[in-house]
Amino acid sequence: MADEIQNPIIRVRDITVQFGATRVLDGLNLDVKRGEILGFVGPSGAGKSVLTRTIIGLVPKVAGSIEVFGVDLDSSNTSQRRNVERRWGVLFQQGALFSSLTVRQNIQFPMREYLRVSQRLMDEITMAKLAMVGLKPEVADRFPSELSGGMIKRVALARALSLDPDLVFLDEPTSGLDPIGAGDFDDLVRTLQRTLGLTVFMVTHDLDSLYTACDRIAVLGNGKIIAAGSIADMQASQHPWLRQYFHGKRARAVVT
C-alpha cells in the first residue's frame, strides 16, 4: 500500500498552460493514485478539460512536468509514449466516435492497430464490451449518427476500454444523460473499476457522480488545485466556491 501511495499513476508537477495572454493553469500539482476514481470539479471555464487535454498531450504546456505510469511524457521517446498511450483510454466530451465507421469498427479500431488477433476474437470482445457498457448487440452495426446521445457516450466508453487500459480519462461522462442513465453510468464506472482494476480520472459536474462513484475529489480554481480529498472533506471546507457548490440548493437535494 505504501508503495502505491509513493508511486501515483499520474503525477502532475507545476504545470502552466497559457493561451495568448490568459493563463489557464498556473503551477498546478496533482497526483492520481492507482486504482482510485478521482472526481475533478471546478467552475465552468476553469480549465478542467484543459488539464485533461494537457495530461493526454493534446495541449502544449509552458512549464512543468507530467508523469504517467512513471514515464515522463516530455523526455520519453516514441515507443515509450506509444506504450503509455496504449495503456490509457479517453472518453471525450462529445464521444468523438469516428463518424464513417460503425460501432463495431469504432471499438475494434484500437485492437486492429495494436493487437494481432483474429477477427473472431475481436468480434467476441466487441460484444463483451458492448454488454459491459449496457448496450444490445444489435447496436454493433449502426453508425454513430444513428445513435442517441447516451448511446454515443456508452460506445465511446466501450472504445476507450477496448484495449483493457489501466487508466481512463472521462470528460463529463454523464452530461446530457437522463438521471437514470447517469446513475447507471456511475454504477458502470464503479463496476468496471472493480472488475478491471481501473484508475479513473473523471471530469464532472454531476453531484450524484461525486457522491456515488468517486473515491476522491479534486477542485480546480484560479489555475490551481484549491482542495483535494474525500467528499466529507469537501463538505467541511470553508472555501466560498466549495461551500456554494456542496451546500447550494441542488446539492441539498442530493444529500437529503
Binding site: 493487437l115 483474429s118 467476441e124 460484444m127 449518427s145 483493457d164
Partner: protein, 382 residues
C-alpha cells in the same frame, strides 16, 4: 509498474487429476498476449470430446483482463458441449466478477459482409440511374426555392442579408482575384505562344491576334474562370453547409423560424452571380494582356499593331457572348454546391463525398451549359 515487471508468458498446461480433464492456466492473461492466448486456447479446445468432467484452474494467473477472461470463457464453452460440466477454480474475488460479466455475453453469429451477386450489381446500376433523375429533381427544387426566396427579398428588400452577401462576395470575388488573374494571364501567354509557333509556318503570325481575341472573350475566359470558381468556391459552399448540417445548425435555424434558403443559400448565390462576371472580365483582360505580351516579345507583333488588329478582329458581340454566360454558370455552380451541401449526412465520409460531387457536377454542368450557349449563339448568328 509492479504488475508489469511480473508479466510472464501465459501458459495452459494439462495436469494430472484422476479421471478428469484438468487444465492449469499460468502467466499473464491480458490483451498484450492476446495472439498467444488465442493459439493456446485453440489448441486446448481440441481436447474436447471425452466424457470426463472438466476442471480449469486459474489460481496461478498473474493478471487477467477482458481478453483473458473471454478466452477462458470461450474454452469453457467449447469444452462443455453436450452434458459435460466444466468448473473454473481458483478465481480471486475481483476476477470472478469479471468472468461473470463475460459469461453473460451471448455468442452472436457475425454477420458476413455483403457478397457480390449479379442481382446486387444490377440493383446498384438501377439505383445509380434513378439517382441521376433525383439529381435533376434536386437541382430544380433548389432553383425554385432560391427563386422564391429571391422574390420574397424583392418584395421585402429589408430581409436581404446584406452583411452576409458582402462577406461572401469578399470570399469568392475579392480574394479570388490574384489567382484567377495569374492563371488566365498564363493561359493567354500559352495560347499566343502556340498560335505564333504554328501560324508562323504559313506566314500568318498576325492571325494569332484574331484567335486570341475570339477564343479568350467568347470561351476560354469565362469557361476557365467558371471551372476555377467551381473548384474554389463551390467546394467551400458545400463544405460549409455540409458541416452546418452535420451539427444540426440548419435544423436550429429552421426551428427559430428562419428559412435556411433565405439565410444561407441566397446570400451565397447572389455573391457568386455577382462575382463570376467580374472575375470573367478580369480574367479575359489578363489573358489578352498575357497574349499581347508574348506576341510582342516572342512573335515580334508590337503592341500598336496588336491593338489595331484586335480592334478589327473582335466586336462587342464577342465580349457580350462571353460575359452573358457568366451569371448563368455562377447560378449553376451555386445551386449544385448548395444542393450537395444540404444533402450531407452525419459522417465525415459523407461530407467528403458530397464535396467531391459538388465540384465534379459543377464543372460538368458548366461545360454542358457552355455547349448549349454555343448552339444558341450560332443559331442567332452572334
Amino acid at each position: 509498474m509492479g504488475a508489469d515487471t511480473l508479466s510472464s508468458d501465459p501458459k495452459l498446461e494439462r495436469i494430472a487429476k484422476g479421471n478428469a480433464l484438468a487444465l492449469c492456466a499460468t502467466g499473464t492473461w491480458t490483451a498484450s498476449f492476446a495472439p498467444v492466448l488465442e493459439r493456446i486456447v485453440a489448441d486446448a479446445e481440441k481436447l474436447a470430446g471425452g466424457p470426463q468432467s472438466i476442471f480449469i484452474d486459474v489460481s496461478e494467473v498473474a493478471k487477467l483482463d477482458t481478453f483473458g477472461a473471454w478466452l477462458i470463457e470461450r474454452l469453457r464453452r467449447s469444452l462443455t458441449k453436450g452434458t459435460v460440466e466444466a468448473q473454473i477454480a481458483g478465481l480471486s474475488a475481483n476476477y470472478s466478477s469479471l468472468v461473470d460479466e463475460v459469461r453473460r455475453v451471448r455468442a452472436t453469429p457475425v454477420i458476413d459482409g455483403s457478397t457480390i451477386t449479379i442481382t446486387g450489381m444490377l440493383e446498384q446500376i438501377g439505383r445509380a440511374v434513378a439517382g441521376v433523375g433525383g439529381t435533376f429533381a434536386g437541382l430544380i427544387d433548389m432553383l425554385g426555392a432560391v427563386l422564391a426566396a429571391g422574390a420574397h427579398v424583392l418584395i421585402h428588400p429589408r430581409s436581404l442579408r446584406l452583411t452576409s452577401t458582402v462577406h461572401h462576395l469578399e470570399q469568392v470575388c475579392w480574394r479570388a482575384v490574384p489567382i484567377i488573374v495569374l492563371i488566365t494571364f498564363l493561359i493567354g501567354c500559352i495560347i499566343a505562344q502556340q498560335g505564333i509557333f504554328h501560324f508562323r509556318r504559313f506566314g500568318a503570325d498576325i492571325f494569332v491576334v484574331d484567335m486570341l481575341g475570339v477564343l479568350v472573350l467568347r470561351e476560354i475566359g469565362v469557361l476557365l474562370v467558371a471551372i476555377m470558381v467551381a473548384g474554389r468556391s463551390g467546394s467551400a459552399y458545400t463544405a460549409e453547409l455540409g458541416s452546418m448540417k452535420m451539427r444540426e445548425e440548419i435544423d436550429a435555424l429552421r426551428t427559430m423560424g428562419f428559412d435556411p434558403i433565405e439565410v444561407l443559400v441566397l446570400p451565397r448565390m447572389l455573391a457568386l452571380v455577382l462575382a463570376l462576371p467580374i472575375l470573367a472580365f478580369l480574367g479575359a483582360m489578363a489573358a489578352l494582356y498575357g497574349g499581347g505580351l508574348v506576341a510582342w516579345l516572342y512573335g515580334g507583333v508590337d503592341p500598336e499593331a496588336f491593338l489595331l488588329r484586335l480592334r478589327d478582329a473582335i466586336s462587342i458581340d464577342h465580349f457580350i457572348v462571353g460575359i452573358v454566360k457568366a451569371p448563368v454558370m455562377a447560378a449553376v455552380i451555386g445551386i449544385v454546391a448548395c444542393v450537395e451541401g444540404l444533402a450531407v449526412q452525419g459522417s465525415a465520409e459523407s461530407l467528403g463525398q458530397h464535396t467531391t460531387a459538388s465540384v465534379v457536377k459543377g464543372i460538368f454542368f458548366v461545360i454542358v451549359m457552355d455547349g448549349v450557349f454555343a448552339i444558341f449563339f450560332a443559331s442567332i448568328g452572334m
